[in-house]
């Protein structure tokens, strides 16, 4: 057996698995989206049906809000943790990365514990503080999910910034906010774009959180789920899946090309 | 074992011809050095002999008469020392040395005995259990050598085995390696770009240039009778004496030199150690710089020939820069070679 045959043999199991369980199923999904009564015009119908369109808009808006909030919070915290060494720092770091392995359902439950009918806020301030089952709850859930991921990306990038850059700016008389604007943020920009794209894609596709919080919030994954299970509208569920998959894939492609890191979308 | 190579050539996929058709014979127990500047094809030739690279169609490689041209590397029974040593970081010194024996599926006792034997030969007993990552450069080099010879290969191939070491260690290990190769009494091919290394270690040197073996011979033969200007310049740094040759005389800007014989259409070369300062010499020259090197002075001279000449002067004192001196070169020390356009 020559080396080349052996190399090909090494790839063979993966190739078969990927073909059978990834390539062909995706092709089937794309085809299925065109097999409804509308044919391929179904993609046009998504844009023409108010319910789907508003769902799409709402999903994008919540995802954008999540991305912005996660970037602001995680960059602030990440920079602080990279630049300051203090007692308890490692504990804070552990807490902030703990939710990395939580699936979306658990994140949803965490939000219920905070803002549900029996939640912390409603117990302390009775009557008006049930926000878990609304878009706010969804936003907080996605934020919960995104903070650790963005934080890790930002911290990894911040640790690679040469401290002498900042020192040079200080010797040239720049005040702290100018250093932030002129030195730190430009150096972090690729990581921020990458982390933002990941947060956005994750929020777009998050199913578990939405599923736990409520079935009546119209976000894309929930609509796909109800179209498939309740309405048995296979073509529409497939078409929406294709749209969702394309959006998240393109976002993560951008992220990868800018930072080269791999962070699980999941959730 | 004898090695015979015929019609070995290598063209890379991009069309680069790394090696032009080459024939070479290496005798039993002979240590041959492939010497040449980087990019001359010497490593490619070595890798083809090893089986790590496939030669162009029409090649034939024979070990002791047996055709191994199409045998994969792992079945050629060769030993190889890599430039970076390629020691397995996941194995101890003992594990590395015993790996080839394990591949031959020898009984454990036999493997252990041979490993001990080779480690003693290479003075590695003290490091047997160590991780290879915890060794110095010189120790790694010895482990690589021990690993290569432990399975008693038919031929030992060494790819720049000393180049990863610093200069001081390199000199010491060069002599040690020469001695060990004689003790192993194994046929060996040794690739280097360093003429001193080749001279010190090899029985015979093949000088390569641009994919071609230009001359093969013992170190003395190459030094005394180079066939081309390239060999003369690469081995012993011969300097061109560019002037007009009439019959057996060479007319230079600084005077006229006598040649050993009439040499129409040839080019004269001389080495620094053959230029003497002699008040009665036929050449006039101007001293440019003088460098004191302990055992001798190295003097740069202008005006005698078109280019700068260097002379090694063993005296107790030397002229000063700016002085005018006279030079003598014995006719027998002048190398008359086919003239060549390019210089290396």
């Amino acid at each position: 057996m020559t080396r080349d045959t052996f190399t090909l043999l090494c790839l063979l199991p993966l190739a078969i698995f990927t073909l059978a369980f990834l390539a062909i199923p995706i092709a089937r999904l794309v085809l299925a989206s065109g097999e409804g009564v509308d044919g391929w015009a179904i993609y046009l119908k998504i844009l023409q049906t108010p319910r789907y369109l508003s769902t799409l808009v709402q999903t994008v808006l919540v995802s954008l809000a999540t991305t912005a909030a996660a970037l602001i919070i995680s960059t602030t915290a990440g920079l602080y943790l990279v630049r300051n060494r203090f007692r308890g720092r490692s504990i804070i770091l552990s807490i902030l990365t703990l939710p990395l392995a939580f699936p979306g359902v658990v994140v949803g439950f965490m939000i219920i514990l905070l803002g549900g009918r029996q939640g912390l806020f409603n117990q302390m301030l009775p009557g008006h503080w049930v926000f878990a089952y609304s878009v706010t709850g969804l936003f907080l859930g996605y934020l919960y999910f995104s903070i650790p991921r963005v934080l890790l990306t930002v911290m990894a990038a911040a640790e690679k910034i040469d401290p002498s850059l900042e020192e040079a700016a200080r010797t040239l008389g720049a005040p702290p906010w100018r250093i932030m604007l002129d030195v730190l943020l430009p150096a972090l920009a690729p990581a921020l774009i990458a982390a933002g794209a990941i947060a956005f894609a994750t929020a777009m596709g998050a199913f578990g959180t939405a599923f736990t919080l409520a079935t009546d919030i119209d976000v894309l994954p929930m609509v796909i789920y109800t179209e498939f299970t309740l309405s048995a509208n296979i073509a529409m569920a497939s078409a929406l899946s294709v749209v969702l998959g394309l959006v998240t894939w393109v976002m993560l492609l951008i992220a990868r090309s800018l930072s080269g890191t791999t962070v699980a979308a999941g959730g | 074992m004898t090695l015979s190579l015929s019609n070995i050539a290598k063209t890379f996929p991009d069309g680069t011809r790394a090696l032009l058709p080459t024939d070479l014979e290496v005798g039993q127990g002979e240590v041959l050095s492939l010497l040449g500047p980087s990019g001359c094809g010497k490593t490619t030739l070595l890798r083809i002999i090893a089986g790590l690279e496939r030669a162009d169609a029409g090649a034939r490689i024979a070990f002791e008469g047996e055709d191994v041209t199409h045998l994969p590397v792992e079945r050629r029974k060769i030993g190889m020392v890599f430039q970076s040593y390629a020691l397995f970081p996941n194995m101890s010194v003992r594990g590395n040395i015993g790996y080839g024996l394990k591949m031959q599926k020898l009984p454990r006792a036999q493997i252990n005995a041979r490993v001990e034997e080779v480690m003693a030969l290479c003075r590695l007993e003290a490091f047997a259990g160590r991780a290879v990552t915890a060794l110095s450069g010189g120790q790694r080099q010895r482990v690589a050598l021990a690993r290569a010879i432990a399975p008693r290969p038919r031929i030992l191939l060494l790819d720049e085995p000393l180049s990863a070491l610093d200069a001081a260690l390199r000199g010491q290990l060069r002599d040690e390696l020469a001695l060990l190769l004689r003790q192993f009494a194994i046929t060996a091919i040794f690739v280097t770009h360093d003429q001193d290394e080749a001279m010190a270690i090899a029985d015979r040197v093949a000088v390569m240039r641009e994919g071609v073996v230009t001359q093969t011979g013992t170190p003395e033969a190459l030094y005394r009778n180079p066939q081309t200007a390239f060999v003369a310049q690469f081995i012993g740094d011969a300097m061109p004496l560019s002037g007009r040759i009439t019959e057996d005389q060479l007319h230079l800007p600084g005077g006229v030199l006598a040649l050993p014989s009439a040499a129409p259409g040839r080019q004269a070369y001389v080495r620094a150690e053959d230029i003497r300062l002699d008040p009665a010499g036929p050449l006039k020259a101007r001293v440019e710089t003088v460098t004191f090197l302990g055992t001798h002075y190295r003097i740069a001279l202008s005006e005698a020939a078109p280019g700068t000449l260097f002379a090694l002067h063993p005296g107790q004192s030397a002229p000063r820069p700016g002085d005018t001196v006279r030079l003598a070169i014995a006719p027998s020390a002048i190398l008359l070679l086919p003239s060549e356009e390019r210089t290396p």
Binding site: L14, A101, L113, G266 | -
Partner: protein, 262 residues
């Protein structure tokens, strides 16, 4: 102004911490309190954990079984493939790597829908736990391949292999003697990632599971929807106990593998 720029980041950090950590603490406490509404004064109990065990131990074992099976499959598929990709870097390898990474980008829901449409009618397969396994392998495989590939790309694999070849080792022998041992840090990091992600996977699993095959996260969703808060919390607690040590081991192993690749 200066004080504000110093204090504000710390405040944001601590608030983020509280946001992430308070519900975790609440869930742990709720799972251990006799009556959550009366608070800790009602006393601590393991009753809810016990109830979770009787109700859901099957789902816990199924998740462990799936995670281990998923690990075995990703090792068999992923390690040789990573080696092949490392040995033949090029356009085709890049495209293949990109393609198998698709499940990281495409939401699990969409992938599950694709799998259901193609294989949903094969009842024997559809109803078996291996159907869920396929989903888990799809999702975790890219982590294994990339983790191993990163380590293999950082060592001079070709020369090491050539060294082994000159000593008489054939391709398969070299794979087991040289490639696998030297890729070990990457394999370990990949393995822990695979197990951690498999145990927590919900998006694909929810679509692929059957009423008789509930994994831990599926059981969690079930408990959140239909059980009293204490039981749901106790179940979450069980999940934390399983996932947190795995997460920490995974982070340690990844940092170790990272040191090799830098």
């Amino acid at each position: 102004m200066t004080r504000l720029t110093k204090v504000l980041p710390l405040l944001v950090t601590l608030l983020a911490c509280a946001f992430l950590f308070v519900p975790i603490v609440m869930s742990v406490l709720a799972g251990l309190t006799v009556n959550y509404f009366r608070g800790l004064s009602s006393g601590l109990t393991l009753r809810w954990v016990g109830e979770v065990w009787t109700l859901y131990s099957g789902s816990i074992f199924l998740s462990i079984q799936l995670a281990l099976a998923c690990l075995v499959v990703t090792l068999i598929l992923g390690v040789p493939a990573a080696y092949a990709l490392a040995r033949r870097p090029g356009r085709a390898s890049r495209i293949l790597e990109e393609f198998i990474s698709l499940p990281l980008a495409i939401p699990g829901l969409a992938l599950a829908l694709a799998l259901l449409q193609l294989y949903g009618s094969y009842q024997g397969f559809r109803m078996s736990w291996t159907f869920i396994l396929v989903g888990h392998v799809l999702y975790t495989l890219p982590f294994m391949v990339r983790s191993v590939l990163a380590v293999l790309a950082a060592i001079d694999l070709q020369t090491l292999e050539e060294g082994a070849a000159t000593l008489g080792a054939g391709p398969a022998q070299r794979f087991f003697d040289i490639v696998v041992p030297n890729a070990m840090p990457g394999i370990l990091a990949g393995a822990l990632t695979v197990v951690t992600l498999s145990i927590g996977e919900f998006n694909l699993t929810w679509m692929l599971h059957t009423p008789h095959l509930k994994t831990l996260p599926v059981g969690l969703a079930d408990a959140y929807a239909s059980m009293r808060l204490e039981v749901a919390s106790a179940y979450t607690l069980v999940f934390f106990v399983m996932i947190v040590p795995l997460l920490m081991a995974m982070q340690w192993a990844s940092a170790r593998a990272q040191r090799i690749t830098e």
